[in-house]
Structures are given as structure tokens and as C-alpha cells.
């Protein structure tokens, strides 16, 4: 299973990461690593523990056991706001944006979260052009420049998914955790998002959770297959496709 992989040091790595909810083992002994410029797809059936894994990496929930290292520094158990500040951005499985705010305001808040000196907190946003610039830049990267003045709630589902990613990008993260960014998208929107994922993978270490196997095999540089909370297999997409254990457990007729 072990194959040649980019030699760069991992940006984010887990060692024996586990999370139990009472008697339920959601994630058990997972060790994965994310590298700069690499898109790492995590696949597995529903209930395999993928989202719990992402929630531990983003600080939403604390691991029961194991380590999380960001650039070699132990960060397991840090709260979500600090993980974001340390450079771990995420998007949510269910669209989680401020529907009543403008598109720009959604992203501008994300940029503001990265730290504005207290003395400038009582200025209006209009007097902080730096924040607006960063927000516009993030919107440009996901292709939402044209609708930046719209109210977020009026966007199409696909556009809202893109906005979700722009909000993660506005914090200029090293690591991007994308939880099913294509969920509920039409074919055209999916195609656009697939292109965006490839682009993002060039500049960030990306962890992608996705159920659409065509997309996964099209964009992934490295894959981890999870089942029942544990890692079943990992390797390059070609190897995963050929892996009989994975075929039995998950891919079905897909390979």
C-alpha cells in the first residue's frame, strides 16, 4: 500500500486519533497526514467517521485520544477559533453561512476574524479597505465576484457552497478541510467546483470528504478509505481503485 508520495513534510498530521461518544467509537486510531499542494480525499460509507475526523481537526470536538500536529506543533484539543487562526480553514457539510448578510460581508467577517487590533475594532468596515480587499480576493478565487453585493440567502445552492469555501479562504489557511463541498450540486455546478478543488490543491493542503467517486478520482492525489471509524486503506487513487478490500467494503461496482 505504501507508495511514493510527495516528500514534503506534512502540514497537518494525526497520530492514533480517536473519538468515542460514550460506548460508540466514531473514530478509532486514525493516522493521516496532509501535505502542501496535495489533495487528500477521505472516503467511506456513511457513519465511517469522516465528519468526526474533520471536526477534530478543526477543533469543533476534542479527540478522546491521539495527537494532531500542525507544522509539527501539538494542537489537539485547541478550540475551533484558535485552529482557524493557526491556519486550518474548513467548510461545512451543511451550508453554514450568514443568510441575511451580503456575500461580501460573509467573507469580510472571515477576514476580520484573523485579527484586527482592538483599537481599530470600533471603526466601520468601510475604513478597513484591507479586509474588503482580502474578502474580494477570496470571492474572486471561487468565482463569486459578480454577486458580492447580493444577500447570501438569495444565492443558488451551488453559489452558497462556493461562498462557504470563500469564507474558509479569506482566513488564508494552510490547511483546507472541505466537508462534501459538492453535496446537492447539479452537474454544471459540480464541474465548476471540481475545477476549483484542483486549483485550491495547488496552494493549500486540502482534505476533501466527498461521496461522488468520479470527482474524487478526478482530483485526489492521495486517498484514505475509512470504515467504521478506522482506516481501511490509503494510497494513490489508482491503488485504491485496485484494492479488493476497498471494493468489497465500499466502492461496489465502481472500480
Amino acid at each position: 500500500m505504501v507508495e511514493a508520495r510527495s516528500a514534503s513534510a506534512p502540514v497537518l498530521a494525526t497520530h492514533g486519533l480517536s473519538r468515542h461518544f460514550g460506548g460508540l467509537v466514531a473514530v478509532h486510531d486514525v493516522s493521516i497526514s496532509l501535505r502542501q499542494g496535495e489533495l487528500h480525499a477521505v472516503i467511506g460509507p456513511n457513519g465511517a467517521g469522516k465528519t468526526t475526523l474533520v471536526n477534530m481537526l478543526s477543533g469543533e470536538i476534542k479527540p478522546t485520544a491521539g495527537r494532531v500536529e500542525l507544522d509539527g506543533r501539538e494542537v489537539a484539543g485547541e478550540p475551533a477559533w484558535r485552529m482557524t487562526r493557526l491556519g486550518v480553514g474548513r467548510s461545512f457539510q451543511r451550508t453554514n453561512i450568514f443568510l441575511s448578510f451580503s456575500v461580501l460581508e460573509n467573507v469580510r467577517l472571515a477576514a476580520q476574524a484573523m485579527g484586527v487590533p482592538a483599537a481599530r475594532l470600533f471603526r466601520t468596515a468601510a475604513r478597513e479597505p484591507g479586509l474588503i480587499e482580502r474578502a474580494e480576493c477570496a470571492l474572486g478565487r471561487v468565482g463569486l465576484t459578480d454577486v458580492s453585493a447580493s444577500i447570501a440567502g438569495t444565492l443558488s445552492h451551488g453559489e452558497q457552497r462556493q461562498l462557504e469555501i470563500a469564507m474558509a479562504l479569506a482566513s488564508d489557511p494552510k490547511v483546507l478541510l472541505l466537508d462534501e463541498p459538492l453535496a446537492g450540486m447539479g452537474p454544471e455546478e459540480s464541474q465548476r467546483m471540481t475545477g476549483l478543488l484542483k486549483e485550491l490543491a495547488r496552494e493549500h493542503a486540502v482534505l476533501l470528504i466527498e461521496h461522488d467517486m468520479d470527482v474524487v478520482f478526478a482530483v485526489a492525489d492521495w486517498m484514505t478509505v475509512m470504515a467504521e471509524g478506522a482506516v481501511l486503506a490509503e494510497g494513490r487513487p489508482e491503488a485504491i481503485r485496485a484494492n479488493t478490500a476497498v471494493q468489497d467494503a465500499y466502492l461496489g461496482g465502481h472500480a
Partner: protein, 336 residues
């Protein structure tokens, strides 16, 4: 939250103008009632920063109001009134410090638990003054009212003029408070508070340490409640534990509900209407609280956006200006 559209801003200006000329047309009794309404408006407005703006429902807000009033009493010698330039900063500082302590602890909880913890803190402050001789116990205590004085110079006021002066000081402070809060809400800080109200969890995921922002809002709200409490002491020259009792906190919440949760001027309209309502109910019946309860019930069921959410009929504009009657500030005095 902020006034939108010219119509609303014009109405607010008119309301302020009406309040400014009110004392010229009414008897001294109604000037005093108006002062009380303005003080209530300050209290409700300060609470709105937590309730309407940040989504934090506190049931202990009167503690900061009452502490400020008691501070005036505690720093004023029995037979020597002090300048407002001393009493106001002192009262506000004590209220703010108390808010910092209460907020730091209570903001570790959320929702229902936050409500209960703030209530518990409020009751602790209540019993501090109720059960000890610190401030005259259950009976309360009289105090020399703060003077409008600068160094050795004192505004020469006759006994008759004094209530008018206190009215205008209260009105000025209320307007300053409102304008100040408009700037706070428009700022980067205010945007964070709104984000927290809508979805705190998402704000944390974006990288905001929301606890700090909520604590800052809690302290600002406490400081402003302190201004209101100070003006109470200056207005009445009397303090008693009722100032701190949880009814007072609940009353401030009712004023917000009555005026509207979703606008900054709602609590002001709510406080003025509530005071007028109380006065009216007292005039026509002995069952004042019953009448008040019924009217509040009606408002909540029929006007979920409160009085400030009423729109004028047949207006093509999208912005809904507040209705002029029966909520207009002038109603704080019934037919003066």
C-alpha cells in the same frame, strides 16, 4: 437593528424634538414622569445591546443599574451633595466593574443557563443591599442629589427648576447613548456581535473568540445601565433594593419586547410606551399589573416585531417607519 431609510430617521428626529419641548407644555408632575421614562429607556436601551444585538437574554441587568444608584448614595456624604462630574463616572465605573465580573462568569454558560446565572447574580446583589445595612436595608435610603456643578461653580437652580434640569440631562444622555450605540453597531465590533446573534458557532469556526466579544458587549451594557442607575439616584434622591430586584430586569425586557427586538430605537419607544401605559392603567383601575399584562400579551401576539415594527399603511417603500401613534414618545405624558 440600525435605523434604515429616511422616514425612520425623520421620525426619530421628530420624536427627540417632541421630547425636548415636552416640559414646556406639561405640568411638573409629568416632567418627573418623563424623566423616569427616559431613565427606563436608558436601561432598556443598554439591555438591547445584549438581547437584540448579541442574542444574550439577561435577567440580571438591573443589578448594574441598582449598583450605580447605590454607588451615588455610598460616595455622597449625608449632608453634602457632590458634583455629577464625580458621581456619574464613579457610578458608571462600579457598574462596569460588576458587569466585568458577572459577565466573565455567566458568559461561560448559554441560553437558559445564562438567563438563570444572570438572575442568580442579580439576586445576590439584591440581597446584598436588602439584608445588610450597607444601603439602608429594605427601607432604602435618601441621599443628597448630585449637583450640576463644575469645580466650585454650580448651576444656579431653584427647587422648581431642578426637575427640568434633570429631565434635560437624562434626555441628553439617552440621545448620546443611542448615537453611541449606532456607531458601535456599525463598527467591526458591532458586526461581530450581529454575527454572534445569528450563529455563534459559525463565528467561532471563522476564528472569532466569541467569549471576548460577548464579554465586551456585557461590560458596555453594564456601563450604560450604570448611567441609567445614576440618573435614577439624581432624579429621586432615594435608593432602595427594588431598583435591583429581578422585576426591574424583567420590566426592561418587557420594554424591549414591547418596542421591538430588532431595532435599536425599539426599546426607547417601548420604555416610553410602557411608562405611559402604567400611568394610564393606574389612573383607570387599581389592577395596574393586570392591565399591563394584558396589553403586553396583546402586543406580543399581535405585533411580534413590537411597536417599532408597525409600518404605515400603503407605503411603497420597503423600510417600515415606526407608527406615530399610540407609541410616539409624546405619549409618555397622557394628554398633559
Amino acid at each position: 437593528m440600525l435605523p434604515r431609510g429616511r422616514a425612520v430617521i425623520v421620525m426619530l428626529g421628530l420624536g427627540a424634538g417632541l421630547l425636548a419641548v415636552l416640559p414646556l407644555f406639561v405640568s411638573p408632575y409629568y416632567v418627573e414622569l418623563g424623566t423616569y421614562a427616559l431613565i427606563s429607556a436608558m436601561l432598556a436601551l443598554s439591555l438591547q445591546l445584549l438581547v437584540g444585538c448579541t442574542g444574550l437574554v439577561s435577567l440580571g441587568h438591573a443589578a448594574f443599574y441598582g449598583l450605580a444608584a447605590y454607588t451615588v448614595y455610598l460616595i455622597t456624604p449625608a449632608n453634602e451633595a457632590r458634583s455629577i462630574l464625580v458621581t456619574l463616572p464613579a457610578a458608571v465605573a462600579v457598574a462596569g466593574l460588576a458587569a466585568l465580573i458577572v459577565g466573565a462568569l455567566s458568559l461561560r454558560t448559554r441560553g437558559f443557563f445564562f438567563l438563570m446565572v444572570t438572575l442568580a447574580f442579580g439576586q445576590m446583589v439584591f440581597f446584598l443591599f436588602h439584608d445588610t445595612k450597607l444601603g439602608g436595608g429594605t427601607d432604602g435610603a435618601f441621599l443628597p442629589r448630585p449637583l450640576l456643578a463644575l469645580l466650585d461653580w454650580q448651576l444656579p437652580l431653584t427647587r422648581r427648576q431642578r426637575p427640568y434640569a434633570v429631565y434635560y440631562v437624562s434626555l441628553s444622555l439617552l440621545i448620546a447613548m443611542y448615537v453611541g450605540l449606532v456607531f458601535v453597531l456599525r463598527s467591526l465590533f458591532g458586526r461581530v456581535l450581529e454575527g454572534i446573534r445569528v450563529n455563534e458557532h459559525r463565528m467561532q469556526a471563522l476564528g472569532f473568540h466569541t467569549y471576548r466579544y460577548k464579554l465586551a458587549a456585557f461590560v458596555i451594557a453594564g456601563l450604560l445601565a450604570g448611567v441609567a442607575g445614576h440618573m435614577w439616584a439624581m432624579h429621586r434622591g432615594f435608593v432602595n433594593p427594588e431598583l435591583i430586584a429581578w422585576h426591574r430586569s424583567a420590566e426592561a425586557l418587557l420594554m424591549i419586547l414591547l418596542g421591538g427586538l430588532s431595532t435599536l430605537h425599539g426599546p426607547i419607544i417601548g420604555a416610553l410606551a410602557y411608562t405611559a401605559l402604567g400611568e394610564f392603567a393606574q389612573a383607570v383601575t387599581e389592577r395596574k399589573l393586570l392591565v399591563e399584562g394584558l396589553i403586553v400579551l396583546f402586543v406580543v401576539l399581535a405585533l411580534p416585531k413590537g411597536l417599532s415594527g408597525i409600518s404605515l399603511p400603503r407605503r411603497p417603500r420597503r423600510e417600515a417607519p415606526p407608527a406615530p401613534s399610540p407609541t410616539s414618545p409624546a405619549e409618555a405624558h397622557p394628554h398633559g
